[in-house]
């Protein structure tokens, strides 16, 4: 871990002098801007570690198109203004060939105007559906959209015959766009929203909002959020003795959530990528080998795996395969190759990207999972 950091500092300071020696042996440059600190560090940190891991393994096996691959990454700290400056720095000063990054929807939306104007392939790791709808020529994304998560939750609720739903969401971008999708899709699944509460992502107690929900005739609670707040909501629900079924979002699909929420997490359901239940997949499932390989490799270095790291893995692998198929780092040809990615087996599911769908994941890429005695189990 140590020498990677020194190499990055050395590489970055070299670039400060702006030396552009273009030659065959020149490394292929992958640019990344992630929220490694700040409120969304919960997502950005595993993403960075995954990108570094994949690129290090790739270089160990001779790199790409017989050229070394170099990762240049910046930490936006969750501030969209920084994201824009860093993407301009990646394009203009570092002259990267492709960008994989954008942990939060806010950062991603902020940089799209520049990416489209400069014409550089950009694979985002953020959740909101409006990153790829309407389709933008140079912009792709690997995580499932919040609309898919909402649809998956509503499907499960309908199976259980529950129609009166209470929403409780945080004040982050991920939370708000999730809430928007839940409100938009409710009529389609004949769901009735009976309560719509909100909290601050750094709040320490949500019992007030949950007491109001307890007072409503809600039959189930959906908490769309990420970080520490959903764990507090889950504990508060148990504290108030509320027994309604609780649905979380894929934002908390990680072991850390179960550790934080503790006993209160039992019975919580949420849509998640197959990564969290890799071992329980039937052997015939094509995703299983990919998931186990990534999981083993990541956990050897960094501890428990997280679905956000998985999104970064999918993003960088799609980029690498596209460059291999294009045989060069020419931006337009790499972009076209990404758009032709078919049947790519990633941690989030099977990707079939088309000119109209710059994500390529079907609803079945999401698996409904439930917390049972401290672990994730598939819900049939």
């Amino acid at each position: 871990m140590k020498n990677i950091r020194w190499r990055t500092i050395l590489a970055a300071s070299l670039l400060l002098m702006g030396s552009h020696l273009a030659s065959a042996a020149d490394p292929i440059k992958v640019g990344a801007f992630l929220t490694v600190t700040g409120p969304a560090s919960f997502l950005g940190d595993p993403e960075l570690k995954t990108l570094q891991m994949v690129i290090e393994d790739l270089n160990a096996k001779g790199g790409l198109l017989s050229r070394k691959v170099q990762l240049i990454h910046y930490d936006t700290g969750g501030n969209a203004k920084e994201a824009v400056n860093f993407v301009k720095r990646l394009i203009k000063s570092d002259a990267v060939d492709i960008i994989v990054g954008g942990t939060t929807t806010g950062d991603t939306m902020a940089v799209i105007p520049d990416v489209e104007k400069e014409g550089i392939p950009f694979i985002s790791l953020a959740g909101a559906v409006d990153i790829v709808e309407p389709v933008k020529k140079w912009v792709f994304k690997t995580p499932h959209t919040d609309r898919m998560a909402a649809a998956k939750i509503y499907e499960d609720l309908r199976k259980r015959g529950l129609t009166k739903v209470a929403l409780i969401t945080g004040d982050g971008g991920f939370d708000k766009s999730g809430r928007e999708q839940l409100l938009k899709l409710a009529p389609q699944y004949s769901m009735v929203i009976v309560a719509d509460e909100s909290y601050g992502n750094k709040d320490t107690d949500m019992t007030t909002q949950l007491t109001k929900i307890r007072g409503s005739e809600a039959q189930a609670i959906i908490n769309f959020g990420f970080g520490q707040a959903p764990a507090i909501v889950t504990r508060n629900i148990k504290q108030l003795g509320v027994t309604l079924p609780l649905y979380q979002s894929h934002g908390v699909a990680s072991k850390a959530f179960i550790d934080l929420a503790g006993q209160a997490a039992e019975g919580v359901r949420l849509p998640a990528a197959a990564l969290v239940i890799a071992e329980q997949l039937p052997d015939a499932d094509p995703q299983k080998p990919v998931l186990l390989a990534y999981k083993k490799n990541y956990e050897a270095k960094h501890g428990p795996v997280s679905t956000f790291g998985g999104h970064a893995y999918d993003g960088i692998m799609i980029a690498i395969e596209a460059i291999q198929r294009a045989g060069s780092v020419d931006r337009a040809r790499v972009r076209d190759e990404i758009e032709k990615t078919q049947g790519f087996i990633g941690t989030a599911g099977v990707f079939n990207i088309t000119p109209e769908d710059h994500m390529g994941l079907a609803l079945d890429a999401f698996r409904m999972v439930e917390v049972r005695n401290g672990g994730w189990t598939i819900v049939e």
Partner: protein, 291 residues
């Protein structure tokens, strides 16, 4: 509606006691140095994170808490020795920036030591909710409330009934006069930073089971603690506790009856109203402007 109101009040008091505990640290340092230490939130975080690591390493809770408090107290002393003292005589605004720099620095250290994810301390006496009328609260909240009462009385006794405490107060009222009667003002200031760091650590440990802790936990707690100290009248420990409880109840009622999204806005709007009518806080000592 009324039984919900009771729950809102109980929630308000439990959350308010968190703010009160943090506000105490602000009041103590202000008493000795006329400066608001914006790194107070970081002391709370350091106390919690150290205790969590020690407990995770198998130490018994009480020992871990004691060691964590001492270590944070040491950090407070070092901060005063190497940051506040060398800038002796700097303007109030410059000293505020120094404490803000210290806060960022301590956050950087915590980031390196504990990484970025969230940690929790197991509750001291389980988390089976206690039912009190129609409201429920966690046993840990009783620890927090109890802790607040204990610490407030200790600070009150210390400041008003011990020689060292009175010396501390003397420094804040008139540093030159304090020096003249033989009080070593530098030691007093260092003591103040050490004590409020220790106080912050204890607060952090008491609230860790409720609020989870990360390298960034100090920011919001510091902000709410500062607000509590200001509402109560800066420098007045009792005021800080009252201010904290008031802020907590306000947030709960605001979220309960008006809109949970605008909770913080409602609370701070009230803080503004208080300041407009009581320019030196609810219980702040009114400083007569002498010409």
């Amino acid at each position: 509606m009324p039984e919900q109101l009771f729950q809102f009040l109980v929630t308000g008091v439990t959350v308010g006691s968190l703010y009160a505990l943090v506000g105490l640290g602000f009041a103590l340092i202000y008493n000795a140095s006329d400066v608001v230490n914006f790194a107070q939130g970081e002391f709370v975080m350091l106390g919690a994170m150290t205790a969590i690591s020690l407990v995770a390493a198998g130490w018994p809770l009480v020992l871990a808490a004691a060691v964590a408090t001492l270590l944070t107290l040491l950090v407070g002393l070092l901060l005063e020795r190497f940051a506040i003292e060398p800038a002796w005589g700097a303007s109030v605004v410059a000293t505020i920036i120094i404490t803000i720099g210290a806060a960022i620095f301590l956050r950087g250290v915590a980031l390196l030591l504990w990484g970025k994810d969230f940690h929790a301390l197991p509750p001291f006496s389980g988390d089976t909710p206690i039912h009190w009328g129609s409201a429920t609260l966690l046993p840990q909240s009783l620890w927090v409330l109890g802790g607040a009462v204990l610490l407030v009385t200790w600070v009150h006794l210390f400041l008003n009934h011990t020689l060292m405490g009175k010396a501390l107060l003397a420094c804040s009222f008139n540093r030159a006069a304090a020096q003249l009667v033989g009080i070593n003002v530098k030691v007093m200031l260092r003591l103040a930073y050490g004590l409020s760091a220790g106080l912050g650590a204890i607060a952090g440990i008491l609230i860790a089971p409720i609020t989870f802790s990360s390298y960034e936990a100090g920011v919001m707690l510091g902000l709410k603690g500062f607000s509590a100290a200001i509402i109560g009248g800066i420098g007045n420990p009792m005021g800080a506790v009252a201010g904290g409880l008031l802020l907590g109840v306000l947030e709960a009622l605001g979220a309960g009856f008006i809109s949970s999204g605008y909770k913080d806005a409602i609370a701070f709007l009230f803080v503004l109203m208080v300041l407009f009518f009581e320019p030196t806080g609810l219980f702040g000592h009114k400083v007569a402007e002498r010409v």
